[in-house]
Symmetry: C2
Subunit: 146 residues, 2 copies
């Protein structure tokens, strides 16, 4: 778990401009520990800082993404989420039928990363990936992709 202060200091050291709004967003992401949508970030912060607009949250999350601080993931029906990239990337299994989301260890991705580097000379940024499919319960229930 990366704490907000560490990230703020790192950015400051890089000569980035640190506004209160940027610090709020970083704190919200660190505190929740979960991936959050733009709207969730805004709502979380609205309680203590009503001034923060959604527009600004969008701009800040994009700014953090460009600087490699957060990862952006499209979870399908669950929307686009953002999360701090910490030392232990992790991923999600999203069930197409029931929508259940399960966390996934990153070591499953190592083989894939290695092969992408070797065969395609491509440096993958697999920090927070969503993999869709069917969970066991839904397969047993016989439901398909609906």
């Amino acid at each position: 778990m990366v704490c907000a202060e560490t990230i703020v200091e790192r950015l400051r050291a890089q000569g980035e401009r640190l506004t209160v709004q940027r610090q709020w967003v970083i704190e919200a992401l660190c505190a929740s520990g979960e991936h959050l949508t733009v709207q969730q970030v805004q709502q979380l912060l609205a309680e203590r800082s009503p001034a923060l607009t959604e527009t600004t949250v969008y701009r800040i999350l994009q700014w953090l993404k460009e600087r490699g601080v957060v990862a952006q993931t499209d979870l399908g029906q669950s929307g686009v989420v953002y999360q701090i990239i910490d030392r232990e990337p992790h991923h999600h299994l999203v069930c197409l039928s029931c929508g259940q989301i399960v966390e996934l260890d990153d070591d499953l991705m190592e083989g894939l990363r290695a092969r992408l580097r070797q065969r395609y000379d491509f440096e993958p940024r697999i920090d927070h990936m969503a993999i869709f499919g069917l969970c066991r319960a839904c397969r047993e229930r016989g439901s398909d992709t609906d």
Copy 2:
């Protein structure tokens, strides 16, 4: 390459209602062979069938997705695309810097699929996945995630 007729017959055999609009969309996807956005499908068909609305294309693509006929992929800036699931799934490397998209063989995914089944009892639907990262040229140019 799956031909439209095969798919139409398969659906009909399953007792699905086959309207002309549904057949048009299936034909467009098969004929192009590429992944298409909702808007592209609509534009392709607009020339010969002006009556088809975007709304209906949305509904038909979702219907096809629920029946396992098409895969939906979010390519980031390039939008959400749909593609027929044929016997040879394939994937895309999307460069975060230059936006270049490279096709990827499916056999790279086999290891991952196997491990997801074993360790998580999850049946992945990895038909058409987008992996983001940096291509060689952009890495050499020293650009990062922007």
